[in-house]
Structure formats: C-alpha cells, structure tokens
C-alpha cells in the first residue's frame, strides 16, 4: 500500500504541474456557475426547492463532463510512459502493474473529487443564496457527488485500458474521444431512435431498460433521477427510470468501477516494454 501511495503522490504532483488540477476545477466551477445562473430563472416546477432543481440539472451536466474529464486525465497513463521510455525501468522495481495503476488511479480520483467538490459547492452555494428550503436537496447533492466520483472512476479505468491498448498517446487520445462519443452521446441517441421506431412494443418494455442499465453513464443518470424522485424533469429516459429500481442502477455503476479497473490491469499486463 505504501508503494501505491508513493506512486499517487508523484502522479498528483504531475497532475498539478500539467495544470490538470486547475483545468478540471475551473471547468467544473464554470459549468456549475452557468447552470446556477440559468436555473435561477423560474422553472415552472411546483414544490421543488432550489437545490433539488440544481441537482437535477447538475446530473445532466455531470453525465457529459465527468466522463470527459476522467478520460482526458487517463489516456496518457500507460501510453505516455511507453512513449517517454519510462516504463521499462519502473517495471524492474518490486511493484506490481496493478499497484502502478492503483497509484495513478488514486491521484486522478483525488483530482476529480476536488473538481467535483468545487463545482458542486459553487452550485449549492448559489441555490442557498436563491432562497430558503434548499437544505431539502442536500441528500440528493451528496448522492450526486458520490456517484459522480464513481462515474469518474469507471472512465478512469476504461481510459487506462485504452491507453494500454493504444500504446501511443495520440492513438489513445483518439480512442478515448471515440469512446466518449459512443457511450455518452451516440448510445442514448441510438436508444431513443429505437424506442421511437418500436412505438411502445416489446423492445421498449423488455430490452430498453437493460440496455440503459448496461451503460455506466445511463446507470448514473437513472440512479440520480430515480433516487431524487425527479424523474419527471428528465426527458427521454423518464419512463424507464420508473421501471428500474435505483439500487440496480447503483449496482451497475459500482460493477463498472470494478470492471473498468480490472480491464485496465488486464490491458496493462499485455504491454511488453
């Protein structure tokens, strides 16, 4: 464990010097501010406090932004070491490949946690400033924060796996952007098109919920919307959110965290220096 922490410490320094910390924090804070400004306009929803409304819109933001940040931080992890020529030496040390990855993972997770804390903190402060009763949304905010970190962890692991498969930073960058487009953007569009074509048939009721569960980004969205009872505000997947228990969505997300990291270790083991 001390070796993992040593690796994480060095990785954290590198993240700070490469300005990844600053970029991640600034991005989250900026988007949270923009959302809060937009959200302070009357929403027409009756009975919801300002923070719950903010959490609902933060959820739709996080589903795009958190995977993107995680992938941008992770694509260089293995490919960068291969390109710089630093990999052979570290692999002769008495440290396992899983421990090397775990060190990077801890550091990148800490950067994400910091960015999320700042971004969501800004949004929460704005909600409290907007009016009383915001405290009712604190539980939803805590859930959002924890699951956002889990979502980030999934894409960190998958990003390391792609980095190890690509072996060159340029190729790895292309792969992670492609993955982001497919899993976060195109997947939902495809499902939506299929549901529309299906017109409420067997696909929509039997297959579609499982396909949503299978995608970590959708599982994340499902869990947060269902758990906060805000399913109504989310267009498109609201119906499915009601048929899937939130615990399943959470289970899928956590399984992806473990699966993503396991994929990363498997891919890294196949890299010969």
């Amino acid at each position: 464990m001390s070796r993992v922490i040593a690796g994480a410490g060095a990785e954290m320094r590198i993240a700070m010097r490469n300005r990844w910390v600053a970029i991640a924090v600034a991005m989250m804070a900026l988007f949270a501010l923009v959302l809060s400004a937009a959200g302070s306009a009357p929403t027409g929803r009756v009975g919801a406090d300002a923070l719950s409304v903010t959490v609902a819109s933060l959820t739709s933001l996080a589903v795009y932004l958190v995977p993107l940040l995680a992938l941008l931080m992770s694509f260089d992890a293995v490919a960068g070491e291969v390109e710089r020529g630093t990999l052979p030496l570290i692999l002769t040390y008495p440290v396992s490949r899983a421990e090397i990855l775990a060190g990077k993972f801890l550091a990148h997770l800490a950067v994400l946690a910091l960015a999320l804390a700042v971004g969501y903190g800004v949004a929460a402060a704005a909600a409290f400033a907007a009016g009383p009763g915001a405290a009712a949304g604190l539980a939803a905010l805590a859930r959002l924060g924890a699951t956002s970190l889990a979502l980030g962890a999934v894409f960190l692991g998958v990003g390391y796996a792609l980095s190890a498969l690509a072996r060159r930073p340029g190729a790895a960058a292309g792969l992670v952007i492609g993955l982001w487009l497919v899993l976060v953007v195109l997947y939902d569009l495809g499902l939506l098109a299929a549901v529309v074509a299906d017109g409420g048939g067997g696909f929509t009721t039997q297959v579609f919920p499982w396909l949503l569960l299978a995608n970590p980004a959708d599982a994340f969205r499902l869990y947060n919307l269902a758990a906060s009872g805000a399913a109504g505000v989310a267009a498109g997947i609201g119906g499915a959110a009601q048929t899937i228990p939130p615990a399943w969505a959470l289970g899928s997300l956590l399984a992806w965290v473990a699966g993503g990291f396991a994929l990363a270790i498997l891919a890294f083991r196949r890299v010969t220096p």
């Binding site: 590198i14 490469n18 710089r84 630093t86 052979p88 030496l89 008495p94």
Partner: protein, 295 residues
C-alpha cells in the same frame, strides 16, 4: 548471482540471441561488448524479466527473472534513462526509494553522490542527457543491489564523470555486488572490468578475462622504439623493424617472442632512447573474436 543458460530470443522472424550462456558472480564486474544490434539490450531485458526468452534458463539471486526476489535483488540502468520531465530529480529519486521500501529522505544523499546535488530541485525536463544518466545511476544505487544491470551507462557522460562512475562501480563490487554492464567504448572498460563477454550477432563469441583473451587470440604485440638522434636508420636495420618517422621504429612480434625481442633491443644499448610495449588493444581483440565468429 546471475546465471544465463543457453538463452535464445527470437523477435518475429529475427534471432536476437542464440544459445547465450553467461554467469556473473558476486563482486565481479563483467563487460558485455558488441556492435549495435548484437543483442546486449535484449539479454539485459531478459535478465530483468521485462521480456521473456524464447528458450533457455535465467536465474537472478536464485529466482526466476522478474520474480519478486529477483526484482528486489537487481537494479537496472536502461539504455537511455528517461524520467517524467515534470518531476524534480529529488522527487523522482524519492519515488524510486519508496518503491523499494526506503525512506524518501535519502534522495538528497544519493543525488549528491552522483554529482546532482545542486540540480536536485530542478525539474528533470531541464536536465542534459548526462544529468539524466546520473539520475539513472542514482536510482540504480538504491538499497545496495546485489546485481546491477547497466545498459551503456557511460554514454552521455564526460570523461571526468566516467571516472567517477567507475569509482562508484568499484566500490559496489568491493561490497559484493555483481555487475553486468554493456558498452561501446572499449578502451574505458579495459581497465575497469574483471571479465569481458563479446556478443556478435546474438552469439557469445568470447567470455574470459582480458589476459586470457589476449593469450587465446595470440595477436601480435607492437613494440615502438625511440632511437637517439641520427641513429634511427641503424636501429631500424639492426632490429629489422619499420621506420615510422625520424626517431621511431615499430616492431611486431608474437606473444612468445616478446622477451627475445626486448633482449635484442636492450643489446643496442646507447642507440635507444625509449621503448614502449603495446599489447593488442581491446579493439583488436574485439575485431578478432567478432570476425572469427563470422567465418
């Protein structure tokens, strides 16, 4: 400490090593010589468990290459030591120390030892190639390694740094470390190693002490005689040597004729100013053994 038995390595279609058998004992310094592409780096990577051998057996401290025991016993200096440019020398060495379970605070002393004390807190991105090579050496010194595998360790070092580098190696060998180092610079390993192993196109063509290799090769010894002013013609004639210039005469003889030849020279007495005996250089030996293997 290190044994390699009949190690063969094929890269897709290319045989990089063929049947290499080589041992390094504790306290012994072995120089691995060979042209570019001879297979030196490949052998070292196999010894460290970075790549698998196609066939053959390797043990490091009695364990398989790449095993925990082997990795704890061995230190490596890669061919072109590279580090993360955003870290300082001290941070990088501190990381390596902690990976070997040592206190990070020892980084300062290690960097002093390789002459990087003043640059310890600058980022490695600002270092010259020679300075990065020293960082590489500093990390290889961590925790009293029992086997050191150094791939062209003095490339990029100036002559003074090379001397310091070999002084550190001598110290480690005296303390019992087994040292395997590869090099292009034959003259510098000549005096600094206990045994010479020559790889040629993946085959080990020589593996012995310098003296034994000289005897085995039986290459001619060159003797240069400096004559007193005006006597060079006479000296050349009486020794049946070749005039090199206005004062010097060159002679060649086999290893067994050396004493007889020197006796003749001594017999000329007052005609001679000075004598120099030059045994075949490592370059000559290297060429001899590499060529012999090629036939």
């Amino acid at each position: 400490m290190l044994t390699c038995t009949q190690v063969t390595k094929d890269y897709a279609g290319v045989r990089a090593l063929c049947d290499v058998t080589l041992d390094v004992a504790p306290g012994e310094r072995v120089a691995l010589l060979g042209h570019n592409g001879a297979g030196k780096s490949t052998l070292m990577k196999i010894v460290l468990g970075l790549i698998p051998a196609t066939s053959g057996r390797v043990t490091v401290a009695g364990a398989g290459p790449g095993s925990r025991t082997a990795r704890e016993a061995a230190a490596y200096l890669p061919e072109n030591a590279a580090f993360h440019p955003a870290l300082t020398g001290r941070e990088q060495i501190a990381l390596y120390l902690r990976l070997r379970g040592e206190a990070a605070a020892k980084a300062g002393a290690l960097l002093e030892r390789v002459g990087l004390g003043a640059a310890a807190d600058r980022r490695i991105g600002t270092y010259s190639k020679g300075m990065r090579q020293r960082v590489g050496l500093a990390q290889a010194l961590i925790g009293r390694p029992r086997l050191m595998v150094l791939d062209e360790p003095t490339s990029g070092l100036d002559p003074v740094s090379r001397r310091e580098f070999y002084a550190i190696l001598d110290e480690l060998a005296r303390a019992g470390a087994a040292i395997l180092l590869s090099s292009h610079a034959l003259t510098e390993v000549e005096a600094r190693t206990d045994r010479i192993a020559i790889l040629s196109k993946g085959r080990l063509v020589a593996n012995d002490t310098l003296g034994a290799l000289r005897r085995e090769a039986g290459l001619p010894i060159q003797i240069e005689v400096a004559a007193r002013p005006g006597t060079v013609g006479e000296v050349a004639e009486r020794l049946s040597g070749t005039r090199v210039n206005g004062v010097r005469v060159a002679l060649h003889c086999g290893p067994d004729d050396k004493l007889a030849r020197l006796g003749q020279i001594a017999g000329l007495g007052g005609l001679i100013e000075d004598v120099e005996v030059m045994p075949p250089s490592l370059e000559d030996l290297y060429t001899h053994f590499s060529r012999r293997a090629g036939e």
